[in-house]
Subunit: 299 residues, 2 copies
Amino acid sequence: MQSIVNAVERAFIEQANGGLVSPPRFRVETKQGDLVFTAGAATATEKVIGFRVYDTFANEWDGHQQLVCVFDSDTGVFKGVVIGNLLGALRTGAIGGVAIKTMARTDAEQIAVIGAGLQARMQLEAAVTVRKIKLVRVFSRNREHREAFAAQMAKKLDIEIVAVDSPKSCIQGADIVICATNSGKPVFDAAWIEPGVHVNTVGPKSIQAHEVPTEIASRSSVIATDSIEQLKAYAIPHFLVGTPDEERIVQLADIVVGKRAGRQDQDDMTLFCSVGLAGTEVVVANEVMKKASCKGASP
Amino acid sequence: MQSIVNAVERAFIEQANGGLVSPPRFRVETKQGDLVFTAGAATATEKVIGFRVYDTFANEWDGHQQLVCVFDSDTGVFKGVVIGNLLGALRTGAIGGVAIKTMARTDAEQIAVIGAGLQARMQLEAAVTVRKIKLVRVFSRNREHREAFAAQMAKKLDIEIVAVDSPKSCIQGADIVICATNSGKPVFDAAWIEPGVHVNTVGPKSIQAHEVPTEIASRSSVIATDSIEQLKAYAIPHFLVGTPDEERIVQLADIVVGKRAGRQDQDDMTLFCSVGLAGTEVVVANEVMKKASCKGASP
C-alpha cells in the first residue's frame, strides 16, 4: 500500500502540473446496461496511459468485473490488464491516504473509522502508511462486522483497534475520521468533530444521500477533493454543490504541490471529499503490476 | 474460421436489423500517441457487448497489442479478454468471407490472391469456407513470400495453390480476386477483371493511396462495404468518396438480409470494400473464446 500511496501522490503532482490526462468518461449504451470507461494518462513520471472499464448492469450475477488496462505512455506498448473489483478499492484507499498525508495533523495518532467494509479497510491501510497511528476505533451498525474489522485489521496492521458501539464514542479523541459507509444519512453530528480533526468521506455524497453532515464543510478551514471537475459533474449534484462552501473546495493536488494552502494550524478542521480522479486507476494498476510476483502468472 | 464467418454473418444480420450498436470510435490522446477504442454490442443473437482498443504510437517496439474485451450483453458479466493482433486479422478475414459468400458467384472455383501477408491468408481461409474452391493463384512482389504462402496455405487448407509472377497471370481465370496488399498504387488494371468476378479489397483504400484501381467501381454492378458510415468518415477520404460511384455503395448487411439487391447475374462484376465494422471484433472474440480449449488457460 505504501508504494501505491506514493504512486498516487506522484499522479496528483502530475495533475497539479497539468500532466495528467483524464478525458470525461464515455459510455457504450444498451437497453440493459452500459459499459463505462474512465481513461487516463500520466506521462511525466509514471509514464502510463490506459483506462478502466466497468458495467452498470443492475443485477446480482456473479462475474461483474472491472478491468484496468495499462500501456506505456512513451511507446504505446501494452503492459497488462488487472481484472477485478479490488483495484478500484485500492485506488480509492490510496487517494484517501494521500489526502491524510497532505491534510491531517502531522502528529495524528488516533483514527476513527466509520464503516467496516472493504473501503474502510483500504482507507485505514493507506492511512497507517502516512501517519504514526497508535489507536484506531471502528464503528459499524453491525456488531459482527465491526468486531471482525477490529480483529482482522489489528492483526494485519499490527496496531490496536477497538470496536465501539456508537459513532460518537468512535469519533471521540480521534485526529482523523474516515467515513466509509453506504449510509445515505449523516452518520455523525458535525458538532462531535473536535478542532484539529481531518475527515475523509468516501461513501454516499449526493445532495439526496450523503454520509457526512453538510455542516462539516462550513466548520472546515480547508475542503479538498481529488477532482473538482468530477465533483461538479454529477447528474445528482454533490452535497456541497450549491452551498456557500462550494467555492472554497480546492484540488488536493494543488495542496500537494503547494499551489494552494492546506492546513495552517494544528486546530484547523479539514475535510476531504473523495470522488475518484480518473487516471489514477491506471497508475495504481501499473504499481500493482510492478509488485506482482511472477508466481502463478500465466505465460 | 467457419464458425467465425458464421458469427460475423449473424452480426451483419443484426446490423441490418438495427441491433448492432457501434458508436463512433473514441480516443485518449497524448503527445506521443493515442489509445483508440472501437466499441460495439450485438444484443439480439450474439448477446455480447465490448470493445477493441489499440494504440497509434508510431514505433517499432515489440509489445504493441490489441485488446478485445467481451461482456455478456444480457447481464453485464465479464466474459474475457483476447490480447493480440491476430484477432483483428481474423475479424477482417471473416468479414471478407461473408462478402464472398454474399456477393461472389455461387459456382466460383478459382481465387486470385494478391498479397501474401497475414491478411491475405485470413481472407483465403475464410473464402474456402464459403465456396468450393479448386484452384488458388497467389502473387506477391516478393518471390519468397508468395512461394511460402502457396506452400503453407496449400498444406493448411488442402487445396491447390500456385505462386505466379505477375498480377495479370494471377487474376486470369479467377472468379474471386482478393486484394490484400499494402500497396498505395493499384496493383492491377481494371480491364483485366473479367465479367462475373468478385473483388475484395482490404488493403490501402484512401484517395491518396489505394491498392485497387478506381475504375473497378464503375465496372461493378454492385459495390458494398461493411460500414458506409465508416467509409465516409475517414480523415483522408476513401477512394470512392466524391466519385459518381459513391452513391451506389450499399451495406453488405443489407444484401445479406435481402434489403438490397446483390449479384443479379452470373456475369455481374461485384466489389467489396472492407473497412472493418466496429462491433464485429467483439463477436469474433466471443466466438474465439467459445472455441478456446481449457488447456493452458490460467485459473
